[in-house]
Every structure is written in C-alpha cells, then in structure tokens.
C-alpha cells in the first residue's frame, strides 16, 4: 500500500439549488492512477474539479466538506489557490492549447510562476516535452503555432504544459475522448509512464480504458460515489448491483 495523497471527506457540491455531489469520500494514493467512471452528468467531472477548486469559477457554486492534499485542507480560508493549482495540474477534454507557439505554450506556466531566465525556460520546455513523449516529433518546430499540431499531439502538449510547472497531482478530464484510437493508445502509454512520478486522477467515459490504465476505480451515479475499490476488483467483482449493471452495459 502506497502513501495517501488526497483524501476527500463528505464533499458536497451545489450549483445554485441543484446538488451535484452527495458526501463523496475517497482516498487517493500517491503514484497511482485513479479512474472515475459513470454516466454523463453523474458528478465525476465535478468531483475532479473540486480537487483544484476550479468549480469556483462557475457562479453560484458552493462546496461543502473537505479535501486534504498531503494532509493539508484544500478548502481553507487562507489557502493559496495559485499554489494549490501549481501542485494540482489539469488536462481538459478538448485539447486547450493556447493560441501561441509550441514553445510559448510550455513556457507559459513557468513564466507566470516567475521563471525568466531563457536558458532555464528552454531546459524546462525540453524536459517537459520529452516527459510528454512529444519532443521527438516537434523538436525542430518549437516556434510554429501549437494549433497546427494534430489532436493527439495537442493533448500531449497540454500535458507537457502541465508538467512544466512541476505538479504533484495531475487531473485528467476525459483526455482521450476527442482522440483517434492510435493517439489514445499513445496517451495511455504516457499515463502509465507518468504514474511513476505523479498521482493521476482521470475521468473517463470509456470503461475499457479505466480497466486498462487505472489502479483504483470509483463509480459515480447521480452525484454519489456508489463504489470505490481496486480496479480489478470493481470490474471483476462489483459489490453494488448498480455498479454491476453499469459495467455490464445495462445502462449508461
């Protein structure tokens, strides 16, 4: 059993009058991939976005309960959100490369955190692109617009951008849903590699994907965490009837 990285305690999220999450309790271990599965609108993305407090951007959102990152509460009055988001990076469903060059995309994060030295920036850019398995494909055109890359390359660029700020946890919100099968399998290989150094929480629609890449899986339904256990156990031997129905394709 490896070390506990994140612990959520009775997390509830409300969008105005609508309650999106009901008392979610989950222990997320360090250097493991934790997958969140469930039908659309079940709250898995909402839960993911509570970990870097990105839900706060939506007006009328209220979060109750607590999440601990390395035993330090995330929802605390004087908690520095900037520092939290530096530690907890996020990759979105749609590859959100910025409208600038490949280099600038990766250098953006370190720059806003105060790194100005050109040599150091170049070093970080190279290291991050290598870690995201993208360096070999694009090292000769770092200054061309990032938007010209393919979807799969863009998604790996976004991952490189996240790695450049040296996070500890990486949240991924259906990162492969817009990708073709080959790009998806490259992304999955990348996730397996990143696991050595980072804690990964990934939301996915694709149950086979969850089964392939994750160590732990949580099944969400209607805002509740129905079942959370080792991936092998959840898929082979679900304890809850609803989990069984979902993974056997009876709904969702």
């Amino acid at each position: 059993m490896s070390q506990l990285k994140l612990k959520s305690e009775n997390i509830k999220v409300f969008y105005k009058d609508f309650q999106a999450l009901y008392d979610v309790n989950m222990d997320i271990e360090e250097n493991r991939v934790t997958a969140l599965i469930g039908p659309s609108g079940c709250g898995k993305s909402t839960f993911l976005r509570t970990i870097n407090r990105l839900n706060e951007l939506i007006e009328g959102t209220r979060t109750e309960g607590q999440i601990y990152l390395d035993e330090r509460p995330i929802y605390e009055k004087d908690r520095d959100v900037v520092e939290l988001r530096k530690k907890v990076g996020m990759v979105f469903q749609k590859p959100s490369v910025f409208p600038m060059s490949i280099y600038e995309n990766v250098a953006y994060g370190p720059r806003i955190h105060g790194i100005k030295d050109r040599n150091r920036l170049s070093e970080i850019v190279e290291r991050s692109l290598k870690a995201a398995n993208l360096w070999n494909e694009i090292s000769d055109r770092l200054n061309s617009p990032a938007a010209r890359l393919s979807g799969g390359q863009q998604q790996r660029l976004v991952i490189a951008r996240v790695l450049a700020v040296e996070p500890e946890v990486i949240l991924m919100d259906e990162p492969a849903s817009a990708l073709d099968p080959i790009s998806t399998s490259r992304l999955e290989d990348l996730i397996a590699e990143l696991k050595k150094n980072y804690t990964i929480v990934i939301v996915t629609h694709n149950m086979q994907q969850a089964a392939r890449i994750s160590d732990y899986t949580g099944f969400f339904l209607n805002g509740q965490l129905v079942e959370f256990s080792c991936t092998d156990e959840l898929f082979v031997n679900p304890r809850d009837k609803r989990t069984e129905d979902y993974i056997t394709g009876r709904f969702g």
Binding site: L57, S96, H113
Partner: protein, 316 residues
C-alpha cells in the same frame, strides 16, 4: 414535396424535379425549379445593385478628382500647404495633417480606455452587469454625430477656452469628441472578441496556477488580439471619416495646427464646408480630397484583413 423545397438547395431541387418527371403518374402542383431560380435571381440582383452603387460612386469620385490632381501635380496637391481656391492654389497638406492629428489624438486616449472598459465588461464585471454596460455602450453608438458636435460646442469648447486658453475650437476639442464617438466601436468589438475566446483557454491558464489578471494578459488578450486590432482600426476609420461633429468643434482654419489648442481643419471638414459654393477646379479639388480620403480608408481595411488573417494563423 413542400418540405423538400424548404431545405432545397438548387441542386437538390433539380434532382427532385427530374425524379418527378420520371414518375409516370406524378402530378406537378408547382414548379420548384422556377421558384428557386426566381429567388436566386432576386438575391443576385440585390447584391449586384449594392456593389454597382459603390463602384459607381468610386468611379465618380476619381473621375471628378483625378484631373485636378494631374493639373496641379500629385506632389503639389498632397504636400502644398496653401489651400486658397480663390487664387487657384489647391494644396491639402494642412487638411491631411489635420485629419491625421485629430484622429491619432482621439485614438491615444480612446484606445486604452476602450480596451480597458471592454476587459472590465467581459472579464471582471459580473456577467449581468457586463451585459447591461455593453448594451448601454451600443446605445451610445446610435446617437447622431450632430448631437455629439453640439455637446462639444456647448460644453467642451467653452471649457477649453476658460481653463486652457485659446478660443476653444481646437485639435483637443475634436480629439475629445471623436474619442467619445469611437469608444462604442472600440468597446463593443473588443468586448465581443474577448467574450468569444474559448473558455478552455481561461480554464487552462487558471488551472496552471495563473491569477485572473495573468490569464487575461497572458492568454485571453493574445487570443482576442485580432478582434481588438479590428476594433481599433474600425474606430480609426470612423474617426477619419467623421465630419459633422468635427466641423462644429475644431475651428477649421486651413493651417497645420501648432499645438493641441490650435484650430484645425480635416479633409472631411474641408469637403463639407466648401461643397455648397464650389465649382470648376475648386469642386474638382474637393472630389480629389475625397479620393485621398477614400484611399486612406481602403488602406485601413486592408490592414484589418491582414491582421485578422495573422490572428487566424495561431487560433485553433
């Protein structure tokens, strides 16, 4: 059948028609092909009318103006400081400089103010208030220019006269009024372009630990850049072309202004002030002034198109 006409592109309608003919007992209640062709013709006609009107005006302006430019010489027409129709001297240098000075000095304050306002409305104000402010600004764009001119004449000109000296009719008065007039253009178009930046950019930046301000400066403004440049250039086009309000507050003397408190005449003012009584070469000189103005506007539009294309290069 009726449904097919509704979504009928002309190609689709042609196909339907031929199928109809092949069917032995198909009754033709109406002929979709003719209706299609009729509508297409009407649309073509309206487009052609609009374009033809513009082409004719352009030809007319140049046909009336160019002969005079040949007569005085292009260099002399543009660089001669002396505008004195009674003596047959037609140099528009003072007005050319006047237009540029008034336009640029209005841009100097209206651009930063307008873009900051747009950022506030799109990014910082709560959406409800931002929308309300945006609608109010658009309302400002609907006020006739003579009203702005009147306001300038009654309020700004006397204010400058009492507090800053001169007789108040000045570059400064023109710059203030023009700036107010182009603010709605700059604000609305910048705001629209900031609002149309995909939410993923902002979220992506915030998720990296950037603050809201860092995200605005680092990602949102660069993404909205081509729209903001368009806003500035359209504002500039409006400022160069504006006539009524400028005539009313700038004093209109045909000299290059020595300071921002000096009176100034723009190219548009020159045309409107003298067209009532001009004839012969004098009238031709006014058309030539119009031609120069026309070329200015065309250049501005080209710059807009180029900047939009440059922006697209980087966008998704």
């Amino acid at each position: 059948m009726g449904k097919l006409i509704v979504n009928g592109l002309s190609a689709g309608a042609v196909k339907v028609n031929s199928e109809e003919k092949n069917r032995p007992h198909g009754r033709q209640r109406f002929q979709p092909l003719n209706i299609e062709r009729g509508i297409e013709f009407l649309l073509k006609l309206s487009a052609a009318t609009a374009i033809l009107a513009i082409i004719l005006i352009t030809i007319f302006i140049f046909a009336r103006g160019i002969p005079l430019i040949f007569k005085t010489g292009l260099i002399d027409f543009i660089f001669n400081l002396k505008w004195s129709p009674t003596h047959g001297s037609y140099g528009i240098a003072a007005m050319l400089v006047g237009s540029l000075v008034v336009t640029l000095s209005s841009l100097i304050w209206a651009v930063p103010l307008g873009i900051s306002g747009a950022i506030f409305m799109a990014e910082i104000a709560p959406p409800r208030i931002g929308n309300m402010l945006g609608r109010m600004v658009e309302l400002l764009a609907g006020i006739p220019s003579v009203v702005f001119g009147f306001f300038g004449l009654i309020v700004i000109v006397p204010f400058i006269r009492t507090h800053l000296g001169g007789n108040g009719m000045s570059v400064l008065a023109g710059a203030i009024i023009l700036g107010i007039m182009i603010l709605p253009t700059i604000i609305s178009i910048s705001r629209d372009s900031i609002l149309s930046v995909p939410a993923e950019y902002k979220e992506g930046s915030l998720a990296l630990g950037a603050t809201h301000m860092q995200s605005i400066k680092g990602v949102i403004l660069p993404a909205a850049r081509s729209g903001i440049i368009t806003a500035i250039i359209l504002g500039m086009g409006r400022a160069i072309g504006e006539t009524m309000a400028v005539v009313m507050v700038t004093g209109n003397s045909t000299m290059i202004p020595g300071s921002i408190l000096s009176p100034v005449r723009t190219m548009t003012s020159n045309i409107v002030l003298e067209m009532g009584y001009a004839s012969g070469d004098h009238q031709a000189a006014l058309f030539a002034t119009g031609a120069v103005l026309f070329i200015f506007i065309v250049i501005l539009n080209l710059v807009v198109n180029i900047s939009i294309k440059a922006g697209k290069n980087y966008a998704n």
